[in-house]
Amino acid sequence: MLRTLPLRLARMVLSLVGITVVTFLMMDLAPGNRAELAVAGGAHDLGAPPRAGSLDLLREQWGLVDPETQRPYSVWERYGHWLARASRLDFAGPGEDPAAFRRRILDALPVTLLLNAVSLGVALLVAVPLGTWLGLRAGSAVDRAASGAMFFVWGVPEFVVATLLLLAFAGGWGEALLPGRGLQSDAIHAMSGVERALDMAAHLVLPVTSLAIAPAILMTRFLRDSVAKAAQSEFVRALRGWGLPESFVRQRVRANGLSPLVTLCGVLLPGLVSGSIVVENVFSLPGLGSLAFRAAMDQEYPMVMALTLLVGVSTLLGTLLSDLLHRAIDPRVELR
């Protein structure tokens, strides 16, 4: 492990560079000339032709030309400047306070983290017992029925599930059993600590349910197959041959089938982020998904770039972490 870890880290650094390049190019090349767009848009709003100097000023502000000589920067110079600012965690656009910009992200981050952590936790709580239970009964009638049911639920998109839950439980049809908007009630200030926690939990039920279904099914299927495979392997026959009790054998099977699950958790991250966009939108949660959606709608390039980079880097770290964890749990695994 100590021999391969530096290699793995070197690859990760390369990937990190790749992520920044992709993020930058995507935003820098896609929209064409931003300064001209901004000036044209402003002139359109005012109903007057753009003033002579305004285009040059905007080009300077957006960092498209050298302020001294008015020479246009090349793509790689722009990338270098952006990277230099990004390394100081300064992503704000021209005329925006970097601290306020960071504040907006940091305010939204906990909501999304909470939502995703709880969803992943719920998915694990459902998938681990269910998956191992089904894996030990692979091929039985129960297993087949569960496979069929999971197939059908898996095909229903997140936005359909979220809409359905909202209609069914948040006052669409009949009584509102659970809140369907936001993270807190309006009367939060009049509540005690316990009441606040309960209030937040109630607000989380529907979003978490819609977000947890897909990973729960994915993990259940994965575990079912991995446990069933472990149950077929040689060592199980050996343990049985030694006359060890069935409960002991099953425990070994479970342990062997469970360990690959760690790697799956890393793979799930991008899907959870995509799901957050839908779920936060439907349930009006003030998280990163809503922030990204609004930024995209308002064509706020700096925010979209910052969030894309944040998501890419966290996925990369998540994958590395889950690989290391897997290695720690199962010494037979080799890090590539």
Partner: protein, 332 residues
């Protein structure tokens, strides 16, 4: 199960391909002032209704022309053959009849401005087909050559492609699509290109992995030993071996693209005829009991995913034996 899926897939395909001929509010064939016209076919090239309709100072659109037709009468007069379902995507609002439940006149009911839902669903199918097929074509066009060459050649090129795949897999597809679709227009071409561009890595990874192991197989070694050129080994000897796998992955990708497109439209970043957009608009009416508005588009998206996943399943959907052969791939 597979048979049901196949039949449903064919029905969706026919509905999607012939939507402009099946459900349209302009005639299939019409005679106007002695000239034969085919205005419904014009829908395929996206011609505006008014532009393809007869123009004189009395009538502006096909609809008005159609309404005035009986009055003209007489032998050799103008006539028109309407499509089997005479409602189209640009049909007029019928506010008196909005959110009406299924009836004989409108088998799937009407939407929140009184438009016929059946015809909107048919047009939604053609949108889903265009986006799904387009995304798969783009993803295959990028992912297949990259993965094949990387797996066959190995070395530095392989390392570069692997790194590129790894980088692209770090970005959630919907996030990228949302970001780019918001900056470019949400035109069909943009959505297709972006969806294809974010889904090629899964293709490339699959092909690369298969080619890595195929490269060491005897028949490939034999072909190379006989002096068959490399491109021919790849296209004629190795590619046919991964055909089934590619088809399955293409079906999964197709389903993912349909869902992504519907999700974008649901969020308000897509064309109005998408199934997702129909569902988004029917949320408010659904509270007042208009169940058909959300049920049918939801079922359309879900059933498309079901049938594509069933067709992609490498083994019978419900495995009978106790030994699972394939680990499920987390599809993205």
């Amino acid at each position: 199960m597979r048979r049901v899926a196949r039949v449903w897939a064919w029905m969706l395909l026919v509905a999607a391909l012939f939507a402009p001929l099946l459900a349209n509010d302009v005639p299939l064939v019409a005679r106007v002032d002695g000239q034969l016209r085919v205005p419904a076919l014009a829908s395929y090239v996206g011609a505006a209704w008014e532009a393809s309709g007869p123009r004189d100072d009395r009538v502006q659109t096909w609809r008005e022309w159609w309404a005035e037709l009986p009055a003209t009468g007489g032998p050799g007069a103008d006539w028109a053959v309407m499509p089997p379902w005479p409602y189209g995507p640009l049909m007029e609002r019928d506010l008196a009849n909005r959110n009406a439940g299924p009836s004989l006149a409108h088998p799937l009911g009407t939407d929140d401005v009184g438009r016929d839902l059946l015809s909107r669903m048919l047009w939604g199918a053609s949108r889903a087909l265009l986006v799904g097929a387009g995304a798969v074509i783009v993803a295959v066009a990028i992912g297949l050559p990259l993965g094949a060459v990387a797996g066959y050649a190995g070395g530095g090129f392989d390392a570069a492609v692997t790194l590129l795949i790894e980088v692209f897999l770090c970005f959630p597809a919907l996030f990228l699509v949302l970001a780019i679709a918001a900056f470019m227009s949400s035109s069909l071409l943009a959505v297709v290109l972006v969806l294809g561009a974010v889904s090629w890595p899964s293709f490339a990874r699959l092909v690369r992995g298969e080619f890595l192991s195929l490269r060491e197989r005897e028949f490939v070694l034999a072909a190379r030993g006989l002096g068959v050129p490399g491109w021919r080994v790849v296209t004629r000897h190795m590619l046919p071996q991964v055909g089934g796998l590619l088809r399955a992955q293409a079906a999964l990708l197709f389903a993912a693209a349909v869902v992504a497109e519907a999700t974008l439209a649901f969020l308000g970043l897509g064309a109005g005829e998408s199934w997702g957009a129909i569902l988004a608009r029917s949320r408010e009416p659904a509270i007042d009991g208009a169940w058909h508005g959300w049920l049918f588009p939801s079922l359309a998206v879900a059933s498309t995913v079901w049938c594509l996943h069933a067709l992609a399943a490498p083994r019978p959907l419900v495995s009978l034996g106790a030994t699972p052969t394939a680990r499920p791939r987390p599809d993205r």
